[in-house]
Structure formats: C-alpha cells, structure tokens
C-alpha cells in the first residue's frame, strides 16, 4: 500500500475493499474448484482399530500414541453425534470414508523449490502466499510469515524453521513433534480438549492425520507470524487436523490459519481439534480465515466443518484472542473458547460468519471465567444471505471464584434478502455477585438507501453491498493481521456473490 493512502487515512484493511469488490466482479463460480493430480496413498476405507493402526504405523508413531488413539476410538464408539445445534445434518456414514491420505512422495525438502511442482502449482492457483513471503521480504519492516503447508494430511514443506529454532520456537507438524518432542506433546495433548470432550473431538483424537505443533519458550516473542494453510485435496478423505500451541510464560505468538478447498460433489467431513495453552503473562493470537467449499447454490456438496477449538489461559495475566472469518463450508459447527483460569487473564473472540445459498452455521464461543478479575470480550458479526441459516451460540460462564470478572458481548446480524435467517442464542451463567456481564445484540438489513447511495456514486450493486458488508465487519477485520485482512475481505465479497439483485 502506498504511503499516500496511509496518510489519507485509508487504513490497510480498508483499502482492500476495492480489491474485494473487483474480485466480486471477476468471478462467476467458486474460483478454487479444481483438483490437483498428486498420487495419493489411502488408508483402506472405513474406520476400525486396523485403520488406526495403519495411520499410526504410517507415521512411525511411538507406542503411547497408538494407545492414545485406540483408547479414543473405543470411547468414540460409545458416543453419538450431537444433535443440539440449530443445524440440519444429513446422516454421515463414518465407515464410507478414507481416514488417511498422503502424497506418496514425501521428500525431506531443503527449500520450497524442491516441492512437488504439481503441489506448487496448486498453491499458486490458490494464490496461497508461499510466494508472498518474498513480496513481504521486499517491504521494509514487513513481518515475515512462516508457512507450514499442510497438503492433505501431511506437511510437505516447512519454512523458516531455522530462524525459529534460533529463537527457540518449535514449529513442526504434529507428527514430527510426536517423534522429536514426545514428552512435550504427551504432556499437553488432550489437556485442553480431553479425548471424551465431544463426539467430533473424540473422533479426531482417534484418527488425526496431521496438524501443527508450536512451542514458544519463556519470554520469547515469536519473530514472525506463524501460518498454516490447510487444503483438502483427496476425494472422500476426512481431514482431521490436530493443532497444539503452547506459549510459555511471558511469550507471544500470532498464528494464522486459512484454507480453501476444491470443488467436490460428495460431502467431506472435517473435524479438527485445536488446543492452545497460555502460561503466565503469555499471549496467543489465533486468526482463521475459513473458506471450505460451501456446496453449490442448491446445497449439493460442500464441507462439513465440525471443529473443537479451545484455549486454556492457565497463567495469571495470560491472554488469548480468537479471530475468525468464516465464509465457507456447507455446515459449520464451531465454538472457539477460552477457559480463563489464571487471575486477570483475558479472552477475546472476534468473529465474522457469512452464510449464503444453503449454508448453515452454528458458531460462537464459550468464555469460562474461573480466575478472579478475568475479562472477556465477544464481538460477533453474522451475515446471512440466500436461503442460509446463521446462528450465533455463545456461553459466558462466571464461576464462583471469578470475583470481579467482566464480560462484554456484542452480536450483530445483517440480513441480505428475505429467505435467510439469523439467530442469536446467548447462554449466561453467573455464580458470583461481583461480576459484570453485558450483552448487546442487533439485527439489521442492508438498507436500500445505503445501496442506492453507493450505486449513485458509481458502484455496481454487488460492489456496493460488499463495501457495506465490509463496513459492518470492520471491528473484526481490524483485528486480523494485515496479510490476512486482504484475503478476508476478498472472501466476504466472493461468498456474497449472487446474493443481491
């Protein structure tokens, strides 16, 4: 961005609105609906103890890991899929899917140049910023971004590892971490989201394919944004990512997660688990741009995104911020949460959830206040278009020992058209009289006055709506790191395409 624009007060996330609008104009269908041709090695279809042994063996896991998986699988068999969300989920045949797929060639790469050219091309078509690093490096003072690229289930390339190692930061695929830092993983895996937490988390515990592990040592400020781009590529392959991030005392880390998925006719199941642990005075910022394939306009195809994300603010004055921009998936079931155990710890949740066509989203957060003077802030912006259903579901629980705890919640819903729906379902439980809890909610439409005003100034209708919607989401988009804000704004425009007129 030009310095002039900066001076003009056209702040970084905003200036991209024009790009977002341009993207709206340029695209007619799901842009990223292509598949790349990479040889896959599949686990046999179906889910049995054998499948789990296969996965564990493929990954050369230690015995304890296999046992952990197997015990999770046995528990999972006794559980049933939850039905309380405001979602209509078609029956899922868990035996009719592959639970492991890896690119066959899995070389140890010295640099990204050695990456399978086919994979490289896929990334390039997606516009995934592996190349962006170079661009960023040319910008004075620009932050570096380390990318742990997850291609299907296995990390095939990890960059910046050395620089991170020098800082003492461990940034590995979780499979590598299990082999290289077994004690660290073993101590924390499942400590925030226990195996039996819920049906999908339990399934993930049994079959997780790969994911990311981050450890930031005491007092270290991670020298760059850490970034993982997820991508489902194999047909009929469940994607079970597992992420574990530990910020030791006084450390700071910002983690970016984003994904785009290719077009498929059959539903694909995605059940990730993300666990964050913040020790005393540590801070974790976790940002997500989620753009799984949402299905076509009639609701055929699309990803089922059933995710369990939870942070434990264990230490005093620790802080975790979740920021998410959710535009994709046929069905989203996701509640990034914070358990505020440490005194004076802080949890934040900033969310933009967009649903269009036949998409369904039931998403929100849980803020569990345990420690004294813990604070939480929830800003949720829901946008519904087409025939979609968009539900915010949030829990604020203030425990008896959380003296002086405070929460502020703001839930705004924006409707486009008259066939969509928006719902706000807050749960508030307060067990201490000294707590302060505030909840504000609004529902509005993009007004004809606003659209006409913008059109009279020269904007085509879809660009006008994209601009207004971006304004509606501004509070949340502002919390994203700059490189992510760009994508987020593009996605907002893209996902609302065809929702007006």
């Amino acid at each position: 961005m030009s310095r002039a624009a900066e001076e003009a007060g056209v702040r970084a996330p905003e200036v991209r609105n024009a790009e977002a609008a341009a993207a709206v104009a340029e695209l007619g269908t799901y842009k990223w609906g292509f598949t790349s041709d990479v040889e896959q090695e599949f686990a046999p279809k179906g889910l049995t103890e054998e499948t789990i042994r296969f996965i564990s063996a493929k990954k050369n896991e230690p015995e304890w890991m296999l046992e952990w998986r197997l015990s999770a699988f046995r528990i999972w068999q006794t559980m049933t899929q939850p039905a309380w969300a405001r979602l209509s989920i078609p029956p899922i045949d868990y035996q009719d899917a592959h639970y492991y797929a890896a690119p066959k060639k899995r070389p140890q790469l010295a640099s990204l140049d050695e990456l399978d050219p086919e994979i490289r091309r896929t990334y390039e078509r997606l516009g995934i910023p592996i190349e962006e690093q170079k661009v960023l490096a040319n910008v004075a003072g620009a932050r570096k971004v380390a990318v742990d690229a997850v291609f299907d289930s296995v990390s095939v390339a990890t960059t910046f590892r050395e620089e991170l190692r020098r800082a003492g930061v461990i940034f590995l695929s979780i499979s590598e971490a299990i082999r290289e830092f077994p004690e660290l993983v073993r101590r924390h895996l499942g400590s925030v989201v226990p195996v039996r937490d819920n049906f999908f988390a339990c399934l993930n515990s049994a079959v997780f394919s790969d994911g990311t592990f981050v450890y930031v040592p005491k007092g270290v400020r991670c020298p760059m944004e850490l970034s993982t781009y997820f991508r489902i590529n194999a047909e009929n392959t469940g994607q079970f990512e597992r992420t574990l991030i530990i910020a030791d005392a006084g450390s700071y880390v910002s983690y970016l997660e984003g994904c785009t998925a290719p077009m498929r006719d059959e539903h694909q199941l995605h059940a990730a688990v993300v666990e964050l642990i913040a020790e005393t005075d540590a801070e974790i910022k976790y940002s997500t741009v989620q753009n799984w394939y949402p299905g076509d306009a009639e609701g055929r195809g699309g990803i089922f995104n059933f995710v369990t994300k939870r942070a434990l603010c264990r230490g005093a004055r620790s802080k975790v911020s979740w920021t998410q921009v959710e535009t994709g998936s046929a069905i989203t079931w996701k509640y990034p949460s914070c358990v505020l155990a440490g005194a004076d710890s802080v949890g934040e949740f900033y969310s933009v959830a967009v649903t269009n066509n036949c998409q369904q989203a039931d998403t929100g957060t849980k803020m569990i206040h345990l420690g004294p003077r813990t604070r939480s802030r929830i800003i949720s912006k829901g946008i519904s278009a087409g025939r979609s259903s968009n539900c915010y579901r949030g829990l604020v629980r203030i425990g008896p020992s959380a003296d002086g705890a405070r929460n502020f919640t703001q839930c705004d819903s924006l409707l486009l058209g008259d066939r969509c729906s928006a719902h706000t379902i807050p749960y508030i439980e307060v067990k201490t009289p000294s707590a302060q809890v505030e909840h504000e909610a609004t529902t509005s439409r993009v007004s004809e006055d606003q659209t006409f005003y913008a059109m009279q100034r020269g904007l085509p209708e879809e660009e006008a709506v994209a601009l207004i919607v971006n304004g509606f989401c501004r509070e949340v988009l502002q919390t994203l790191p700059m490189e992510f804000a760009v994508e987020a704004q593009k996605l907002l425009g893209l996902s609302l395409e065809g929702s007006v007129g």
Binding site: V10, R457, L459, E461
Partner: protein, 246 residues
C-alpha cells in the same frame, strides 16, 4: 445535455409525475422550485435510477444516451451526480475509502485506469481546503455522526472529487446556516462550466441569491407550471407558490 420529455411516473399506482418536460443545456444552471409534494425529489430519484418508481411514459436523454435504460452506477459513470437531500450513513466505511472506491468504479466503467493513491490524495487535499473540511472528518465513516451541514458539505466534496458532467442537487441548501450555504453555493459556482450542467432543486430563493440560475422552473402537482428567468424566483418569494399553482 439533459432532455426530459413528457415524463410520467407512478409509485404503486399513484401518479407522481404527470408529463414533465425540461431541458438543460451544457453550461446552464436551472433551478427547479415548487411546494412540498410537487414531485421535485421524485424527479431527482427517477433520473438517478432509484428502484420503486414506474415510468409509464416519456423519455430522458442524457448526453445522447437513453438514461432510463441505464443502471444507477452506469448513470454515475456517464457523469450524472445526485446530491442527496438526506445523505446516507454507511457505518464502518471511511469517507475516503468510499470515495476512492466509487471514483475507481466509475473510471473502470469508462475504461480509464484507476487513480493512484498520491493523485487521489492530492485532489482530496485541494478540495477539502476549498470547502473548509477537516481531513480528520474525511477519515470517519461516511456521514456517521455528521451534522446536517457537514453532510451537505460532504456531498459538495464528493461532487468536487468525482467531477461529474451534470449535478442534480436535491435541496442541497436545506438545513444549512448562512456560512455553510455560502460554501455550498461557492462549490456550485466553481462547478459551473461550459460543458457542465446543473439542476438545482430548492425550496427557497436564498440559494439563488448566491447561485444565479440561467432558468427557473416551477413544479406543482407533477408538472412544470411556469418557467422563466431569475426574476421568476424573486416573484415566487414575494407572492408564494399559490398564485402559480392555482
């Protein structure tokens, strides 16, 4: 430049305009006056392409094009600017971003390259200085928390930056104190030019003390009932609309 011929417009079966004929040539400023409910604002919105109005007869030609066949944003790109009587608030979108996005959208439609950040800023600074606008105000969301006067100045500012061929100003003078009125009038006078046109919709004579029109039209009950020179406006001020509408 703008040719309105026998325009009939209905809103939900209720006739609002019943045969409006009006022509504004290049280099001219016309004032359109008349009592409330005469159809002045309806005419402005129909010209700009707002939905909800049904044109049942007549035609509008703008710079040789069939204006009524164009989308609102295409009318803007062709050079038609509507100064709103009630400028709309757009929360979360800064004035400058809004204006730059709009300007570039227009340029794109005209096949021109996008304006550079530096050039845009140069124009913004120059225009803001002329209108006495605070740069800080321009960074705030579009019209949110602006006073009535600020909103009208902002319309004049947008007009200055977008540099249209034709300005349709709908009661731009209402709600302005005398200083703001002068600023807005100066803006219109600066805008005047041999290849530009203005249709000034106003209730009162007072704006016409600062902007001298080439012609004055009086509208009542959906028709133009009188046309003349600037003296017509002064007569209206003295005698009221009643005499003409009767």
């Amino acid at each position: 430049m703008l040719d309105i011929r026998d325009l009939h417009v209905r809103v939900e079966d209720r006739p609002i305009l019943e045969g409006v004929t009006l022509s504004v040539g290049a280099g001219e400023v016309h004032a359109l006056m008349g009592p409330n409910g005469a159809g002045k604002s309806t005419l402005a919105h129909v010209l700009a392409g707002r939905e909800g109005f049904e044109v049942t007869a007549g035609s509008v030609t703008f710079l040789g094009q069939d204006l009524l066949a164009m989308e609102p944003h295409a009318r803007a790109a062709a050079g038609l600017f509507l100064g709103f009587q009630y400028p709309v608030e757009i929360p979360g979108v800064s004035n400058l971003l809004f204006l730059r996005t709009a300007l570039n959208a227009q340029r794109r439609q005209r096949g021109e390259p996008e304006i550079s950040g530096a050039e845009f800023l140069r124009r913004v600074r120059a225009e803001a200085e002329v209108l006495g606008l605070d740069m800080e105000m321009l960074k705030r969301p579009v019209n949110v928390g602006f006073s009535g006067g600020e909103k009208k100045r902002n319309e004049a500012f947008q007009m200055g930056i977008l540099a249209p061929r034709f300005a349709l100003l709908d009661e731009t003078d209402s709600g302005l104190d005398i200083d703001a009125l002068k600023v807005v009038a100066d803006g219109i006078n600066r805008f005047r030019g041999p290849d530009r046109g203005v249709l000034l919709i106003t209730h009162y004579q007072r704006l016409l003390d600062h902007v001298r029109p080439d012609a004055v039209h009086v509208m009542a009950a959906g028709r133009i009932v009188a046309s003349g020179g600037p003296e017509l406006a002064r007569r209206l001020e003295a005698e009221g609309y009643g005499a003409l509408a009767a």
